[in-house]
Symmetry: C2
DNA sequence: ACAAGAATTCTTGTATTATCGAATTATGAG
DNA sequence: CTCATAATTCGATAATACAAGAATTCTTGT
């Protein structure tokens, strides 16, 4: 992943409401959630949620599709995995013994 | 990790210069690098580098110590691991089969 | 075609963050 | 003590992001 893409993804996640929305979408899985559903669950104005979801989409972390009159968002797991790998490389590079992320992940079998 | 801490860490990394500085610090390992060294390597004004390093430190991703007349920064691997686990939980929660980060990490034995 | 539902876009105001250079603090050398 | 070095802090300004509401687009049902 290129640096500028990573920066855009990171800054997309670096906001409370967007992080919360992203969480909901992760839990929802591939079937996703409509913009209005997310706004209601998080008690955020629909107009605000639109803005946040657009930011997440620019960051590549979610994708949208129209279903009838609703617009459904879902997580781009590929991109999220890419971001995690990017960060993990930076973290482990040269010092895998210090970071030890993989071991933790292995234990939890996440 | 609490949400607000994660947000602060993420927004600390969500900037090109800081991401580059963080990379250098990861490569440098526990012995770290002085503020001036980083500024020189990245061709960034010392005053700006100070600002960026302070931001990274507020985000908990690096720590600083004085060594003679230099101030040396090094990565907080604990915190970085914490951030990665936080993101991995969000990513995998409910859908480990889709994300598959751990498998990748396992293969690479990072 | 018309009305209502679901989202988004646009506009305006505010707040946070980035950038640059000058001034300031802390340290080591003579 | 005084000087030079290494960083940071402080000003001011510019750029970017956040927030709230009105107006607009797109879709479905009648």
């Amino acid at each position: 992943m290129r640096d500028d893409l990573a920066v855009e993804s990171l800054s997309a996640l670096a906001q409370e409401d967007r992080l919360a929305a992203f969480r909901l979408l992760v839990k929802a899985g591939p079937k996703g959630l409509a913009s209005g559903e997310i706004a209601e669950k998080l008690a955020i104005a629909p107009t605000r949620m639109s803005f946040h979801l657009a930011t997440l989409e620019r960051g590549g972390l979610v994708v949208s599709r129209r279903e009838g009159r609703r617009i459904v968002y879902s997580v781009s797991f590929d991109r999220m995995r890419g971001l995690l790998e990017f960060l993990t490389e930076d973290c482990c590079a040269g010092h895998p013994e210090i970071c030890g992320v993989s071991r933790r992940l292995n234990e939890e079998d996440c």
